[in-house]
């Protein structure tokens, strides 16, 4: 049917290597995940097959890569997988940015991109639903069954009793409060950048975005300090360290995954910043920037939930460390 002129505004894309390479990167990353964590722990048991697997496969690879084999596990494979994935993302996004600049993103394509981003954020929200569900289950209903404290529904303070006795919780009004303010502030700076961009005030946009990224990095930094302090508690032999129970599991995994999303959001904003510096984005068309801003706001909202439930309510009866 060649020869017909294309009379629609949709964007037909020529073959692209990135999806296939993404699959390859995912495979390397997945192998890295398994070998890294399987390598950390001696899971071989007594199976001869296991001995063979580790001796001939991973250990050989590991020692050929590291020389001595003192580092157990396939962290190198994991690292290679991550770098591979980063390379693919770089190439993929570069193509998208180039297509956008070439005018391939007609209004209808632009709307499609918006739908796509909304759906993506929806699935991210459901991912956190899983973690919050676990958190509430451990906080509320697990103890209903276990009759730890039956008045949980009477007052919110009851949440705190989901922790084992003596477990110290993080004081919500120190670092977590600061982090909340930082994220809220970053929400305003990103809006500032957006409005500046819309009014073609490129300098303001650059500054707004720069501040947002800086605040994102500070947030991550403070979160790392908080983790470091908590790990220090374990090192010092504090017997009721929160990592020793299911509450701690939920705490670390929920805040950890949020932190991971902050990292992704920061990188996303950073990419936008670089594009902005290079002269990308127009006042009337800058969806890449908007998507980053949406994502940032989503991360912000998740944090507010974490702050309200994980830090404040659960920590009401907790002992500040």
């Amino acid at each position: 049917m060649a020869g017909h002129a294309v009379e629609h505004d949709y964007h037909l894309i020529p073959p692209s290597p990135w999806p296939f390479l993404s699959g390859c990167a995912a495979l390397v990353w997945g192998l890295g995940m398994v070998t890294f964590f399987a390598g950390l722990v001696d899971r071989t048991g007594s199976s001869p097959m296991a001995e063979w697997f580790f001796a001939n496969g991973l250990d050989t690879l590991k020692s050929s890569l590291t020389g001595d084999g003192s580092l157990s596990g396939g962290w190198i494979i994991l690292l290679v997988g991550c770098l591979f994935a980063a390379y693919v993302m770089y190439g993929w996004w570069k193509d998208v940015a180039a297509e956008s600049a070439a005018g391939d993103h007609t209004p209808v394509v632009d709307i499609g991109l918006r739908y796509g981003m909304i759906m993506f954020i929806m699935q991210e929200a459901m991912f956190f639903v899983g973690w919050f569900w676990m958190f509430f289950e451990l906080g509320l209903f697990h103890k209903v069954r276990a009759t730890w404290n039956p008045d949980i529904l009477e007052n919110a303070a009851g949440y705190a009793d989901s922790m084992a006795p003596g477990v110290t919780s993080v004081d919500a009004w120190h670092l977590p409060l600061m982090n909340t303010l930082i994220l809220l502030l970053s929400g305003t700076t990103v809006t500032w950048a957006h409005h500046a961009l819309m009014h073609n005030d490129r300098k303001g946009a650059k500054w707004g975005l720069f501040l947002t990224i800086a605040l994102g990095i500070i947030f991550t930094w403070l979160q790392l300090i908080e983790y470091a302090e908590l790990f220090h508690l374990r090192e010092s032999g504090h017997e009721a360290w929160i990592g020793n129970n299911a509450y701690g599991s939920a705490f670390f995994m929920a805040t950890g995954f949020h932190g991971f999303h902050v990292l992704i959001g920061t990188i996303f904003l950073f990419v936008c910043w670089v594009r902005l510096l290079k002269g990308g984005f127009k006042p009337e068309k800058h969806f890449g920037f908007e998507a980053a801003a949406w994502y940032w706001h989503f991360v912000d909202v998740v944090w507010l939930f974490l702050f309200a439930f994980v830090y404040i309510i659960f920590a009401m009866n907790g002992v500040a460390h």
Partner: protein
């Protein structure tokens, strides 16, 4: 495009509703039960401890050990208490291995619907217990059954409540024993 946008709005609202309904159905249901007094999670107020009813329940005691060389038994199989009346029961635990060991106990109560009314004012659960080799220790549980149990229609048939404890080994605390034995037990 506006038709599309409308559809989007509808669908987003729909999905949020689906999400919300799914996520909220369990807590909502529990809350509903509590408010109507129909379900099992009736709350209790803290200042009714003085009230003691004539209705009696039999409280049975149960014990389990999971992955520890310990003997762990209740010192009484059951005891009859009035609603609101404080009961005192003892469990004894003995370390039959030749090294000191640390365990931690979880507990639960059946029937599930009666669990929220079973209140322990002192227990040894969720704290680490260290027991020397050959040592035998006795551990008290002080509890009462909330008199509000009597007001709940659903619990009219509850005459027997079981309190069960399970001792687990503390992760990492007894490594030399559990790394080998624990796996053996599991596989």
């Amino acid at each position: 495009m506006s038709a599309n946008k409308k559809t989007l709005v509808y669908l987003v609202v729909l999905s949020v509703a689906m999400l919300g309904l799914g996520f909220a159905s369990k807590p909502l249901y529990d809350t509903f039960c509590r408010i109507t007094g129909y379900g099992g999670t009736t709350g209790y107020s803290e200042d009714n401890l003085s009230e003691i009813l004539e209705r009696k329940v039999k409280v049975s005691f149960d014990s389990n050990v999971n992955g520890l060389p310990w003997d762990f038994l209740p010192e009484q199989t059951d005891m009859s208490v009035k609603l609101g009346q404080t009961g005192l029961a003892y469990y004894k635990v003995k370390n039959i291995s030749n090294k000191p060991m640390i365990g931690t106990a979880t507990f639960n109560v059946t029937p599930i619907k009666a669990a929220p009314f079973f209140i322990k004012t002192e227990c040894f659960c969720f704290t680490e217990q260290r027991v020397e080799p050959g040592e035998e220790i006795s551990m008290p549980v002080i509890f009462f059954v909330d008199p509000q149990l009597d007001e709940d229609q659903r619990l009219a048939d509850v005459k027997d409540i079981t309190l069960s404890y399970t001792f687990f080994d503390v992760k990492g605390a007894n490594d030399d024993l559990t790394a080998a034995q624990g796996r053996e037990l599991l596989n």
